[in-house]
Every structure is written in C-alpha cells, then in structure tokens.
Symmetry: C3
Subunit: 140 residues, 3 copies
Amino acid sequence: MTVDIRSFTLRADPYCDVINITDEVQSQIKKSEIKNGLVNVHVSGSTGAISTTEYEPGLVKTDIETFLEKIIPYKEDYAHHKTWGDHNGAGHLRSFLLGTSETFPVQNGKAILGTWQQIIYIENDEKSRTRTIYCTIIGE
Amino acid sequence: MTVDIRSFTLRADPYCDVINITDEVQSQIKKSEIKNGLVNVHVSGSTGAISTTEYEPGLVKTDIETFLEKIIPYKEDYAHHKTWGDHNGAGHLRSFLLGTSETFPVQNGKAILGTWQQIIYIENDEKSRTRTIYCTIIGE
Amino acid sequence: MTVDIRSFTLRADPYCDVINITDEVQSQIKKSEIKNGLVNVHVSGSTGAISTTEYEPGLVKTDIETFLEKIIPYKEDYAHHKTWGDHNGAGHLRSFLLGTSETFPVQNGKAILGTWQQIIYIENDEKSRTRTIYCTIIGE
C-alpha cells in the first residue's frame, strides 16, 4: 500500500473553458505504478473546478456554458466585487457549486470511467490561468 | 492497510429515479472486512449521479425532481442533441452538476452517516439503465 | 500507511451560516502525524454541506446566500414538509446539491489548497445545529 502525489499544469482560457484531462490523469496513474485503489483529482484554487462529462462540442462548448450562465451569470453585481475590486464573483460561486475535486476508483492501473465519461477541468475565472492539477493515487 | 474494489448493479428508471443504495453500500463494506478507512461510491457513466438525502417520498419522488427540472429541464433544445441525435442533454448536465461519486468515512465496519442521511443513486438518463456501482474501500 | 479518523464539533446558525473550518482541518491533519496522502472532510447529516471558497464577507455573507436562495428558496412549499411537518425541504435540497464531503491531497502534513481557497461548512437547516465534522486522513 502506497501513496503517490503527482501533478501537472494546464493553461485555461477564461469564462468556462472546459478541458479534457482524462488522458493526463490516466498517464499519472500509470507513472505511479499503483494498480488498484483510488485517485483524487484536485485543482488548488477557488475559481477552478473538476467534474466529468461526455466530451463532445455540444456539451462542452455550449450546454455547460449556457447552463452555468443561466444560474450564475458573469455580469451580475456580486458583493465579492466590492470587497477587493475583483470581478470574478461568478467564478467563485461556480467553483463553490461544482467542487474542486473528484475521486475515482483505480483498477488494473486505470481510473474506472463510463464509455462516454471524461474527466474535465472547468475554468471559471475571468482571466487566462495556469493551473496545477494534483492526482493523488493511493493503493497497491 | 488494504484496498477492496467491490461492485453491484441496479436497474434504474429514466427521468430522475432516486434509489436508496445505503444498505447495499454497507453490505459491501462488511464483505470487505475493512473496519476503518474510507469508502468511495462511484457510478461509471456520464448520466448517473451519487449523492445523499433523507430518503422519504416527499424529497425523493417530488422535491428533487421538481428542483432539477426547474434548473435543467428535460425538454430544452440542448446543443448535445445535434451532435449525436441523442435527447439526453439534460441528463448529462445533471450528472456534471451533481457528480458521479461521493466518499465517506468508514468506522467499525460501517460508513458514517447522519440519522436521516441515506446514500442515493440518481438516474438522469431518458431510458431505463442497468448501472454498475463501485464501492472502493481503503483502510485496515 | 495508516488511517486516522478524527472529528471536531462546531455550532452553526440556521439559514446559510458559512463557517471557515480550514484551520481546524489542518490542525487535525497535524495531530494525525500523517505527512502525505488524502484527507476526507465529511459532515454527517442531510442538511449540512462541505465545499471551498475564498472566505471573505462579500462571498460568504451575501453572494452564496443570494445564489442558493435564488435556486432553492427557503419559503417554497416543498413536498417534504407534508411528510413529517418539517419545514427544512430547502435545507435538504441544498445539501443534496452541494454534497456533504470533500477530499483533498495532503502533502508535508497539510491539505493542499489555493492561496485564496478555504474549506467551508455550510449550514442549510432552519434551526441552530451542533455538527460533528469528520476528518479522515489516510497516508504515510
């Protein structure tokens, strides 16, 4: 039984960039040489998020953005903007809602996912960001 | 310290079937013989979800469905529908929002839950589905 | 490799009290003497929730409350209220949506978080509550 904390970086566009990180996560699991256990995928930061979806243009370029914009619009006048002069209140609320990590079972050296299920990073901030994604693999 | 990846299947009705899987998860933990650690409950698939609630008819037959239908209605014309000719854009968005796994502490061979807190599977797809639920137990 | 299930209690006000529990979680990790692995932060109960945000008054006193009240208002007539004569249907739906746990990587004896990212407890119930927060640390 062992633990391996690995990480990689990505560059994300502002306002709901959705990036498929499945291959990178699977590659980190492979490098850890852990065959069975769990992988926790985490972004450190309060305006990023981790989830899963079918990675096809309709969902990741349009539907996710339209849905999040409907319930947490970027242009609203959030109280957060008055605290620091920031303009990313919507980004904070989106990350609060979606969460900044997901945990998956690892079997035979791979994260278990559905056929159409991809691990995604969602950028909620209003500026381009370089993000560190942590893959913590625990198992044997 | 050991890891045990166990699974069971369930049959779910379309359009927001909410199934109480608490007993099945507790039973899988018992079979693992792990007394203290974590259990990750995961559905592989991009139109299922895992969460918790008080499992009583008002919440699981009406309130959850009404809430999800308000923010992500099934009848909307999602971009996803144009990609494959599918009609389950809402199902994908609901799973993206709710997440496909939850992780719980395990103490004395049982997942720690509140008195009224049950582990639930939520079916978001528009067809009946047979689903595999993974219970990954890590501990000693 | 070892596991340590630790807990602490907090007192929360009703209707969207948001409490910064980061220092308490970091303190529990330190007491466990585990240096590298994972920490699962969990509230047992179906009307509490765990997430992260930048802990500043605009977000935690106004924006989170306004957002949750918009999508899941407390004053609506939920079916849950008819089952037991309770009035906390909104509280249950908010916890169902946000989730009752989050899992973070632990490195050098600390949970990895962004500079502005704090771990928060959200009270969704309509009464003051004393809550037990579990910190399950697995690693070496």
